[in-house]
Amino acid sequence: MKVITRLALLVCLLAGVCHATGPLPEKPNPGEELFRAEQVSGHYGGQLTIGGRAEPKTFNPVIATDAVSREVIGRLVADLIEINRASQQTEPALAKSWKTSSDGRVFTLQLRKGIRFSDGHGFDADDVLFSFAVHLNEKVDSPQRDLLIIDGKPIAVTKIDQYTVRFVLPRPYAAAERLFDGIAMLPKHLLEKPFREGKFVETWSLNTAPAAVAGLGPFRLKQYVPGDRVVLERNPYYWKADSRNQRLPYLDELTFLFVGTEDAQVMRFEAGATHMISRLSSENYNLLSRERSRSGAQLADLGPSLEYNFLLFNQNDLGTKKLDAIARKQRWFGDLKFRQAVSAAIDREAIVRLVYQTRGTALWGNVPPGNKLWINTNIPHPPKSLDSARQLLKSAGFSWNSAGQLLDSSGARVEFSIISSSSNTQRMKMATLLQDDLSHLGMQVHIVPLEFRALVDRVFQSFDYEAAIMGLGGGDADPNPEMNVWTSQGTSHLWHLNEAQPATAWEREIDGLMQQQMVTLDYARRKQLYDRVQQLIAEQLPFIFLATPNVLAAADARVANFHPAILDPYTLWNADELYIRTPIENAGVR
C-alpha cells in the first residue's frame, strides 16, 4: 500500500514538473529595483484561459485601437506610471518615483534600475525617449498622440541620466501623471531600425515571430494560431515581485481563445474550457448565478460602470447634404422643450428593470454613480411624468389630433426613427421601451437596427439619421478623456460634429469650463468646474441619458486573486497576480 502511495505521489510530482510549460522566473539580481506588491501572495504554476470575442488585429502597442488587441497587448507591455484599477489612483510602475514642479509643468521621473525586457535586454532612459518619439511621430499616427499634444505643442522629453527622464508640458495640465498610463514603453534595440526606415506601422503584426516581440509586461508572446488562440507565457524578467519577494507573474501561461460572441464565452465558461469572463450582460450573469451552487464560480457585481447609454438627436449642420426630411425634423430636435419632453416621458426605472434585470442604474447626467470622485450629486432625478412632458410640448407649439397623434406647429405628424446597433441586444431593448414610452405622447417612433459599422458611419460621417441610441465612456474616471465629447471641437461631439464655432451659448460655456478644468491642478476647484459642466449638460440635454449597466464579471472557482475593477480591462489588469488554486486549496475555499 505504501509503495503504491509513493508511486502515485511520484507520478503526480512528475506530471506537475512536466506541466510547468512556461519559462521559470529568473532569480532577482542584487541591483534590480523590483516593485514589491506587499499585499500579494500566491504560488507558481497553472494556465489561465480566457474567451475573447474577436481576434487581435496587431501586437503593436502604438497603433492598436481596438479593445481586443489592447487587451492582449496590455499583458505584454508596461507603462511608466499606472492607474491602479482597484484604487483608481496612480502608482509607480517602470518609474519608481516622480517629482512635479510647483507650477505643475515639469515632471522628473526616476526609472527602476536593472530591470529587463522580456528578451533579457536592459531598460533605461533611451528606451523612454525612443518610446515617446514613436508615440509623438505623425506618420505613426498613434491614437495616444492627441493626449501628448497640449495646445498644439508636444510634451518635451529629455534624458537627465541613464535612469532619470524629464517631461516638460507646454502648460499646467490637471492629473498629468494619468497621461502616462497607456503609453507603452518600447524596446529601442528591436524597434529603432524599422522606425528609422519608416516601417514601424508594419512591425509586430500578427505574422511576426513571437520571439521578435518583447515588452516589459508580465507575459510575452508564445504562439499565435490564426482564428483560434493567442498564447502568452511568463516573462521571466518581469519587474514586480510578491510579498515573499517571488518574481511575478504566477501563471505559466495565459491563453486568449477566440470564441466570437458573449454567448459563446458563457458556454465555454460553463463547460470549463475558459476560466474568466471580463464583461457579462446581466442576463448571462443571472444565468451563471443560478448555476453557482453546482459550478462554484466566482461572480462579481461591481456596481455601476463608467459607461453611459443615451438617446441622441441629430442636430448636425446638414449643409449641402441632401437630407431634407431630416432637416425638417431638426426643428423639433433643436427645441430644448422637445428634448425635455422626451426625457420626461422615458421610464428609466423600467430600463434598469427590464434591460439590466436591476443590475444597472438610471442616469440623468453624463457621470455615472460609479465615478464617485466626479459625479455632481445635485443633478435632479425627475421621475417619469407624461403630464409635464405634454405641457412642455404644448408650450413649444405642439398639439394633438383627435386620434391622439402629436402634430408640430405646421400640422405635420411627429414621427422619427431611432437607429441602434443590431448586435447590442440591450440597446435594442431600450429602443423598444422608448418606442412604447413615446407612443404615449403621440409620437410615432420606428426602430431601425443597423450593423455597428453602418451605425457609426451614419452618426460620424453621413449624418443620415434622425435619432440614435448609443453608449460612451468606460475608459478613465477623470474628466480629461471626456474633452472630445463635450467641447465643441471634439471628435465625439456627436449631436453636432465639426462645429466651426460653439453653436450655442451653453456650448461656449462648456468649452471654457472644460479647458479651464484641464489646466487647474486643484481637485476641489476642478470638481467645481466639472460640476457646472454636468449641470449644463443635464439642463440642455444634448444627450438624453438613459442608464448605465453594472460591471459584471465571472471567474472559475480555481482562479485566485480575482479582483475585477470598474475600469477597463476589468479582470486582467492584475493578470500578474492571478494563479490557479490546486484542487486541495480549492476544496478548502469552497
Partner: protein, 337 residues
Amino acid sequence: MRNKTWGVIAAVVVLHVTLLFAGFVAPYDPAGQNRELPYAPPTRLHFHNGSGWHARPFVYRLTIGPDGYMEDKTIPFPVHLFPKGSAHKLLGLFDTTTHLFGVEPPATVALFGTDAFGRDEFSRVLYGGQISVAAGVVATLIALLAGGILGILAGYYGAWTDQSLMAGTELFLCLPWLYFLLGVRAFLPLHLSPTRTFFLLTCVIGLIGWARPARLVRGIVLSTRSRNYVLAANGFGASDLHVLRYHILPDVLGVLTTQATLLVPRYIAAEVTLSFFGLGVNEPMASWGNMLSSLQQYSVLVSYAWLLAPVGAVVVTSVTYALLADTVQSRLKFSST
C-alpha cells in the same frame, strides 16, 4: 378518405379563422407592455382551490419574489368569456373592445407566458401568425401568378421564348435564396413603416420563387400542347387565347393548386427566417420570426422555454398545409382516373 378530407379542411379553416379573428381571440394588445411582468411563465389555469372543484377555470395574480414569480393565492380571478379589454379592429373593419376570454385586472392570463417586455406571448403568436401566414399566402400568389404566366408562355410558344425564360429559371434556381433575400432586404430603404416592410418583403419572397412553378407549368403545357384535342382546336382556327383558356389552363390549375399548398409553408419559413435576422417586420409589430429572434441570446434560450411558442405555431401550420397538399393531390389523382 372522405373523413380525412373533412378533417383536414376543418383544421385549415380553424387555423385561418383563428388568425383572422386574432384581435378577438387574443386577450391582450400584442404591443402592450406590462413592465411589471417580464419573462413571466405561462399562467396556470386552476380548477381546484381549498374549498373544492370549480367548472370555471380561475387564475392567481403573479408577484415577484426573491426566487422569481409566485402566485398570490389570496384572491382567485375567474376566467370570463367575452370581457371588455384593449381596443382592436375585428377583421380590420369594426372597432370593438370585446375579447374571447380574459380575467379582471390586476391578474393576467398569459397562456404562453410573457416576453422581455411583459407582452402576452399568446396574443403575439396570434397577431404574428396573421403577418407570417399572410406573408406566406401573398408571396405564394405572387410566385404562382408570375410562374404560371411565364411557364405557359414558355411552354406554349416554345422556341426562343422558351429558351430565354428557362435560362432565367435556371439562374433563379441556382441562387442561394436566403443570402439573396438578405442582400435584397439590405438594399431597401431603412425608414419604412412596418406595413410597407411587410409588402416589400412578401413581394421579394414571391418574385424570387417564380422559377420552380414556371418550369412545372411549362412541362405540363408542353405535353398538353401536342394532345389531339389541342391540335384539333388549332386546326379549326381557334385563337391562342381560346386554346389557353379552354384546353390548357384547366390542366395547369391542378398543378398550381398543389404547388400553392406546398409553397405557403415554405414562404412562411422564409418570412420567419428574414424576421429572425432582423430584416423583416420590425418592432413593435409581431411576426413569428421576430418573436423568435430574442432566442438568439443564449441566456433567453436556456431560461425561458415558453418563448419557443412561435416554433410550435410554425410546425402546426406547416403540418396543416402538408396534409392539405396531400389531400389535394390525392383528390386530383382521384378525379383524373
